[in-house]
Every structure is written in structure tokens, then in C-alpha cells.
């Protein structure tokens, strides 16, 4: 049973470019959350997708957008990259019994993005 998978593992971009990161949730999970973790800091919540809709959003600009597909996989898109976007991007999946339930999140290995 595969856990949460993310691709690519590493990525180097230059300022102003756009990037797309991908996440496949753990088997049986229907909810995907994205986090940004800068070096030496805790993960910061970007947004969460459930039933192909963005359900919650953290304090991130509109340059950060996402999508969830019918198979529950998800993409994170970042436009107009800034140097400060360099970080580890983590995807976490869970299974929601209802929209308002709280379940354990399982994190993927992350995508390390470097913006030059």
C-alpha cells in the first residue's frame, strides 16, 4: 500500500517562473492539504482540497493555487516565483468522514524547491 507520493523530489527555478507540484494521496484518502516549510521552521498551511474544492486557505497570496482531480490527486501551482518561495513543499492526505471531521494527516516526502 503506497503512502503519500510527491513529484518531483527536487526542482530549481528562476524568479518569475511558474511551477507545478504534484501529490498522490495515500490509498483510501480523499483529502489533500499543502504546506510550505522554510528551512528551520515548522510547516505553514497553504490550503486544503476536499471533493475537488478548496475548503480552507492559509495566509498565502493568490500566486499559490491548486487543484484536486477526481482520483483525489492534487497539484500545487505557484506563479511569478520569488526567492522567498524557496522551501520544502509538503503534501498531506487524510480521509474525511464528513466535511467537519478531523482525521490523522499523513505527509509525503515533499518537493524541495529552490528559486534562484
Amino acid at each position: 500500500d503506497a503512502g503519500v507520493t510527491q513529484s518531483p523530489t527536487h526542482l530549481i527555478k528562476t524568479r518569475g517562473q511558474q511551477v507545478t507540484l504534484r501529490c498522490s494521496p495515500k490509498s483510501g484518502h480523499d483529502t489533500v492539504s499543502w504546506y510550505q516549510q522554510a528551512l528551520g521552521q515548522g510547516p505553514q498551511f497553504i490550503f486544503q482540497y476536499y471533493e475537488e474544492e478548496e475548503r480552507q486557505r492559509g495566509n498565502f497570496p493568490d500566486r499559490f493555487s491548486g487543484h484536486q482531480f477526481p482520483n483525489y490527486s492534487s497539484e500545487l501551482n505557484v506563479n511569478a516565483l520569488l526567492l522567498g518561495d524557496s522551501a520544502l513543499y509538503l503534501c498531506a492526505s487524510s480521509f474525511k468522514l464528513t466535511l467537519y471531521s478531523a482525521e490523522t494527516q499523513y505527509f509525503g516526502p515533499g518537493t524541495r524547491l529552490l528559486v534562484l
Binding site: G42, F45, Q56, S101, Q105
Partner: protein, 112 residues
């Protein structure tokens, strides 16, 4: 916005010593989760606490949720080198685990 602070930022212990990290939220939490992240790795879920005053144990690890549901602690008895990593608490203010606010983390180093 909500803030979750952890102390200490870093602790270095000798194997066999005990270790405690404390987590404090600026607002009342619906529940709190604890994660461990090894160097170069990703956060791994350890436990979730939901009830006021709740105490849970996992082998050498003891987790506690404060009566006011604004603070929590993780205590490790007789640390081992395998305990090395950064321990994060993550607070859920919404009751849906939809928007976890992670603490600043405590990095634990254990030497022989």
C-alpha cells in the same frame, strides 16, 4: 492570527536522560497533534489529543493536553539516539483538522 510557540528551540541530552518540549497556543484549540521530523525527512504523525486534561502514553513518550486546551507537552523518558529529530506540535483551531497551525518546533539531539 493564531500562533503556536514551542520551547525550548533546541535541546541536547545524553542518552538515558529525559526530555520535555512545551507547546503554547495564543487561542483555544479544538485538538492538538504531535509530529516528529527526522533530519532531511518529513513530519510523521505521533498522536492527537482532543479532550481537556487528556494524557496519552506511547511507550517512552507521554503527551498531555492542558485543562484550558491552550497548551500541551511531550515528555520522553530515557531518551535514545533514535529519538533525534524535531518535534512539532500542531494546533487545530477549526475542529476539522483542515487548517493545522504548526509550532516552531523543538530540535532534540541525543548523544551517547
Amino acid at each position: 492570527g493564531q500562533q503556536v510557540m514551542q520551547i525550548p528551540q533546541y535541546q541536547h541530552v545524553q542518552e538515558g536522560e529525559d526530555f520535555t518540549t512545551y507547546c503554547n497556543s495564543s487561542t483555544t484549540l479544538s485538538n492538538i497533534q504531535w509530529y516528529k521530523q527526522r533530519p532531511g525527512g518529513h513530519p510523521v504523525f505521533l498522536i492527537q489529543l482532543v479532550k481537556s486534561g487528556e494524557v496519552k502514553k506511547q511507550k517512552r513518550l507521554t503527551f498531555q493536553f492542558g485543562e484550558a486546551k491552550k497548551n500541551s507537552s511531550l515528555h520522553i523518558t530515557a531518551t535514545q539516539t533514535t529519538d533525534v529529530g524535531t518535534y512539532f506540535c500542531a494546533g487545530d483551531h477549526t475542529g476539522t483538522a483542515s487548517k493545522l497551525t504548526f509550532g516552531t518546533g523543538t530540535r532534540l539531539q541525543v548523544t551517547l
